[in-house]
């Protein structure tokens, strides 16, 4: 099963196995990782599952949809590496992906 590393804002690291087909957001929620709120439940409608993707992984991710870009306008302190984790689905190619969580989700 692919492994995903979540790094909390305070530096705490969580390496968890996430089922293929789940989103990075769902992986965090299922494993009780604090810092991803996912208020809208994954419909790309709230920007509260914002993460910063590790530089080595940015290019390996599927491109952002217009809807994701629009929602990222609402996220707290976006950077070039900002993504909404409900829009990134885990597969073998993403085994080992590293994401950092922002200070807060809004």
């Amino acid at each position: 099963m692919p492994k995903v590393t979540y790094i909390e804002f305070n530096g705490t690291e969580h390496i968890v196995e996430v089922d293929k087909g789940l989103s990075i957001m769902e992986g965090a929620v299922q494993n009780n990782i604090q810092g991803i709120d996912a208020d809208c439940g994954g419909s790309c409608a709230c920007a509260t599952c914002h993460v910063y993707v590790d530089d080595d992984w940015i290019d390996k991710l599927p491109e952002q949809s217009d809807a994701e870009k629009d929602m990222l306008d609402f996220a707290f302190e976006t950077k070039a590496s900002s993504r909404l984790s409900c829009q990134i689905f885990v597969d073998e190619n993403l085994n080992g992906v590293v994401v950092s969580l922002p200070e807060k989700q809004g």
Partner: protein
């Protein structure tokens, strides 16, 4: 002071259906919501997204569901108290006193909290200590556009709110700066075109790929410091700032009401969805119990059961009789069916 059988906090789908369930039992309700319209997340977050799991509706949208629920509760002529949030509740004998941010006060035996993930509040720029400016010249909405006459106004955002106000205020303000984090805008295309025309005519200054870095000033914001993707910094002298970063949801004052909580949700029993306080119920996404699913259809069930207990509390001297809408003449009368 408004006396009512129930105060419903939250005008989302479950709050609206609670009005119906109370209404057919002959109970009136007042609904409070912090948004400017009914519908909750369905209207604010995903009005156009399809919903496939409402019983007997193979497909609907957040908007159409809200519209139909409002139609369904029309016979009860419910009063909505919008743009306000319930700030405090206090006990008075067997009743509750409910007060909103607009100082509307209710006395009621029943409070139904149908607050979803919380009330919608404006998102703020990611700058520490900006609360001190909020009483002076930092705003998240326009209450009176005359306040910006002849001012240098910095507007943040790329959606319809931001661009509509750029266009409107450009007529009366001394100067408008528009700052947005990327080159593309979410606003409607014709609004974007209008804004671009103003920019080409040098009626506004546009800064794309810039984000707020700091607001300088003591009591008031005097300078807005923005930074772009290349770490270049610009300083803009301003009289006021309008930030349109959308809305977020916050549980807010609910956490202070002495209710048993579990990770941002309110613990209820599954018999009548009452909380640990008599007469306070929680339904929909905001409640939790073993097996809880955050589905609109589950919220409808919860509202129906909570309404039965509300009846007993609102009309302790009347006998409760369970009736079907198909056959009850009392219900038909309440629904205005002749």
């Amino acid at each position: 002071m408004i006396k009512t059988d129930a105060v419903i906090i939250g005008a989302g789908p479950v709050g609206l259906f609670a009005v119906f369930e109370l209404g057919i039992l002959g109970l009136n309700a007042h609904v409070v919501d912090n948004l400017d319209k009914a519908g909750g997340q369905c209207i604010e977050l995903y009005p156009d997204k399809p919903i496939y799991d409402i019983p007997a509706l193979p497909i609907c949208t957040g908007e159409s569901l809200t519209k139909n629920l409002l139609e369904q509760i029309k016979p009860f002529k419910t009063t909505f108290h919008l743009n306000q949030r319930v700030d405090s509740i206090t006990k008075k004998d067997k009743h509750w006193i409910v007060e909103t941010s607009d100082k509307t006060v209710f006395e009621t035996p029943n409070i139904i909290i149908a607050g979803g993930v919380g009330s919608f509040e404006p998102r703020k720029p990611p700058i520490k200590g900006i609360e001190r400016f909020e009483q002076h010249n930092l705003f998240y909405s326009v209450k009176n556009k005359k306040n910006f006459d002849n001012q240098k106004v910095c507007i943040f955002g790329g959606g319809d709110s931001a661009l509509d106000w750029v266009i409107e205020l450009s007529k009366t303000a001394k100067k408008i700066f528009l700052v947005h984090r990327r080159d593309e805008f979410r606003a409607a295309q014709h609004t974007v075109n209008q804004m671009m025309k103003l920019k080409d005519e040098a009626k506004i200054e546009l800064y794309t790929n810039y984000q707020p870095k700091n607001f300088a000033g003591e009591a008031k914001i005097e300078k807005v410091i923005i930074e772009n993707n290349k770490k270049e910094i610009k300083e803009l002298e301003v009289d006021s700032v309008l930030a349109f970063f959308g809305l977020k949801m916050e549980l807010g004052p609910i956490v202070n009401w002495g209710l048993n909580l579990d990770n941002k949700t309110i613990i209820v029993n599954t018999e009548n969805f009452e909380t640990n306080e008599k007469g306070i119920f929680a339904v929909g996404d905001i409640c939790t119990y073993p097996g809880k699913l955050k589905l609109i259809l589950c919220g409808f069930h919860e509202a129906a059961l909570a309404a039965q207990e509300c009846f007993k509390r609102a009309k302790p001297d009347e006998k409760y009789i369970f009736r079907f809408t198909t056959s009850s003449s009392d219900i038909h009368k309440r629904l205005g069916i002749k």
